[in-house]
């Protein structure tokens, strides 16, 4: 039975921006697994009621239902041990657990750049839900979250310095090729890239070159996905 990935989408179903969803997408590509995409909007909670929770992504593989991108990666690694590895064994996974904490800090730096563009990219029913939940969480209006755009971009660039340093030694967090560490970071940065019309990185920034490599990976899978620039 085919794998289904339930993915968060914008007003236009082709616009997939969720940082967690992108982690799972890249994990499926990495594992060379075919899947059917099931786009869901923020307010289409009925579509995912079967999962017993309200967040995306959700992976459905036959009778197995897994939510939470990290658990999805663990599931794929265990269920498909003969496919390319996401974690490179227990020692590799241990390093990726540490890297996950780093990605959390990058997520925090991306969020102010992403929230208003996400609001703009979703439909009216979703906009109401999104504004209400996010403004309650963030304690300010969506319009006030970003503040000075250039300062936010600089903070993100600076928050990636540890990763940039690593890129002087190897082309991917996974070494010579991506591992799930790369997918976590890529998903997070691709969130802003997909909805925001920003120049996130200077063209000579090693992080930019890594983003390009990730966009090229798996036959250019992520590069071929729609962004706000294709849809606007």
């Amino acid at each position: 039975m085919a794998i289904e990935l339930y993915e968060l989408c914008g007003a236009n179903e082709a616009l997939l921006f969720s940082p967690s969803v992108w982690r799972s997408r890249m994990a499926l590509m990495h594992k060379e697994l075919d899947y059917t995409s099931v786009p869901c909007r923020f307010t289409e909670k009925d579509k995912i009621a079967f999962s017993g929770q309200k967040l995306l992504p959700i992976l459905k593989d036959g009778d197995t239902v897994v939510s939470d991108s990290w658990k999805i990666a663990e599931y794929l690694e265990e269920a498909y041990p003969d496919r390319p590895t996401l974690f490179a064994g227990p020692g590799g996974k241990a390093g990726i657990v540490f890297f996950r904490g780093f990605v959390d800090t990058v997520y925090g730096l991306c969020a102010p750049l992403a929230v208003l563009p996400v609001w703009s990219a979703i439909g009216p029913e979703d906009q109401e839900y999104f504004r209400e939940t996010r403004e309650a969480r963030l304690g300010k209006s969506l319009e006030d979250v970003c503040g000075d755009l250039q300062e936010r971009i600089e903070a993100l660039r600076s928050g990636l310095s540890m990763f940039r340093k690593m890129l002087a030694s190897q082309p991917f967090a996974g070494g010579d090729a991506p591992l799930y560490s790369d997918h976590m970071l890529f998903g997070t940065l691709n969130w802003v890239r997909t909805v925001g019309d920003y120049t996130l990185f200077e063209s000579d920034d090693p992080v930019n070159a890594w983003m390009e490599r990730m966009l090229d990976a798996y036959g250019g899978h992520a590069r071929s996905a729609a962004t706000i620039r294709d849809i606007a």
Copy 2:
């Protein structure tokens, strides 16, 4: 032929404090390799002239001479593949390369806490050399480097938050047991622990519990080494 490790020592030869040396010591213990310690003072450059450079640690294994703690770890991993692994394969090593960048930031937070205590722990000839080279490098007197002690300690604690978060998922950077990532961070923190009479971590801090586990590792090897509190 026995392995020799040339190690930086204090006025008292038993006081081994160098963060890089401790990385190599722990790597040798991890690899279950016997070795002879050759303590060297800062100004005993003649003892290590054979290495063609001036920094410690230096590993001498038969005719092979390796300096630089990272290169020593790589050498040990390659030369002794049947001993417990330091890197857990290429994927594990890739994560450890990223972790090395994190440890560099921790090193930067430890240095202000370590320099004056190191100066106090070394002999008069070394003190002159150390003060001259470090004050030139740091652009201030050794007495001025630390500034507010409690603020420095807080900055170090805060700089370890990403590692602390990881410890909620696993007991070591290497997962269930230490890898070279743990040795890099331990060596760095043990530098301050060895020469400084500080309470670096609260007793209920998970980082403190990890330090205790590292001190207990390999039959309590690091715990049995002399600190300034044993020698003063």
